[in-house]
Amino acid sequence: MILSDADLTALYLTLKLALASTIILLALGTPFAWWLARTRWRYKFFIEAMIALPLVLPPTVLGFYLLLLLGANGPLSAIGAAPLAFTFSGLVIGSVIYSMPFVIQPLHDAFQAIGKRPLEVAATLRASPWDRFLTIALPLARPGFITASVLGFAHTIGEFGVVLMIGGNIPGQTQVLSIAIYDHVESLDYASAHWLSGALIILSFIMLVMVYASNRRFRVFKI
């Protein structure tokens, strides 16, 4: 085997992290993006700016504050919660915040693109608000969900700064692919870095090919 056990563990951990983050982001992001797309609240731009923050901040800044928040001396520990820094759960929290705009934005755009009309039509056809959301809004926003899932997943795989700040480099717990590659390069083990990086490229490419093939209208760059 060309990839070492440690590398395979890092790969597995990375996929697990990306999957967990994407699922949590979709669960949280769907109602939130729905609300954002439909609210007429005049200060919603504050919320929008806040969600977009991770796009412009260096990941280290975000990681630094998360470290303070989740660390052993942080406010969460003060109220009795176990410290989450340097744990897998801590990584998931960091990823969710860091990848938030990549999931919310496409969902928001997809919901907005539907417009009021199909939902009004459904209302005149006796569909309750929940019913309209499930049978009209969700199916019509399908391209947005695919974009959001792929972007959220891919962005989490590529994450480095936040992980380094709040997760450190504990094999099997917080050592993800990007950090393992960094480790190999640091120790001048370029061959291992090559294999791991190559595997990541192929994996990402296969993922995108499958998505594009299954949905011709899908556009990853239109966010």
């Binding site: 009309r117 199909p118 009004e120 039509v121 459904a122 209302a123 005149t124 056809l125 006796r126 569909a127 309750s128 608000p129 019913d131 049978t135 009209i136 199916p139 019509l140 399908r142």
Partner: protein
Amino acid sequence: MSLDISFNLQREDFAMHVELTLPETGVTAIFGPSGSGKTTLLRAIAGLENIFDSKVIFKGQCWQSKSSFVPTHLRPIGYVFQEPSLFPHLSIKQNLEYGLTRVVEKDRRVSLANAVELLDIDHLLRRQPHTLSGGEQQRVAIARALAVSPLLLLMDEPLSSLDNKLKQEILPYLESLHRELTIPVIYVSHATDEVARLADTLVILKAGEILGSGPIQDMLTRLDLPLSHRHDAETLIHGTVITTDPEFGLTSMACGDLVFTVAGNTLASGTNARLRIAAQDVSLTLKKQTGTSIQNIFPATVVELQTENHAQIMVKLQLGDFPLLARLTRKSVEELAIKPGMQVYAQIKSVAVLA
């Protein structure tokens, strides 16, 4: 009365003050130029527009007032929007079933088969919405609204997004709807030809205020309302086919005590139809003319005159039980000394039958 509505709305750019009682049966057209608030009024009846100072009472049930609001999906309405707005992710059949399956069994009075047959869309059921023409899509949208067995059907300019050819294609379906279903319909339109063919009652709206409302024959011929002064001002008369004359291709129609002779003989005797007479096509004589090519000449009484411009005067006549408009030149009116109360003969050059 079946529908009592009152809306008071004051927005920055638009105000609406409407008090209206609409009849239990037939088609009520809400007619007015764009921006007059027709669509807002219709949407408010459906509960799609939230107007605080409002009241909608349908057959004794309060749909909304200052203190209560029944959401759209709980109102027994059908709604046809300006654009077909079919759900793109569902097939035609699934579109039709969307509303139907959400109606409890005991309230289903219109079956899917009825709706499909009425709009003649049986051959489209397996197709996807985007493969249909605009006219076909709108027919599906109408059938979809009927399939929820509405107690009140609301239609917002269902033909306005279609070109004239498609319009002519759909109008017959709307007319058969009118004949075969007993559902009261509120039909928003700014097109006089649609209104003349479909409406029984007319509400004329302008800038959020009602100018007049009542039976369509009256609304078309009231000289204080704008419809009698359009270049295509016209009179509608209800009639029944009594005999047809295949030799000359003519049909005799009884309208009250009068018998009109009209061209064409496609209607079976006993059929009810509307006759449309353009004010342009009516001329007056003081004595009954003989040796004329005009078939329809009836004694009439002058009711009212109104000068339209320097050259023309609109004359309202009483023809048996019906009002009739005649557009004359001012010169003729002066030469014949036409005055209210005068007995004259109305010569009607052409009559169109609206089936």
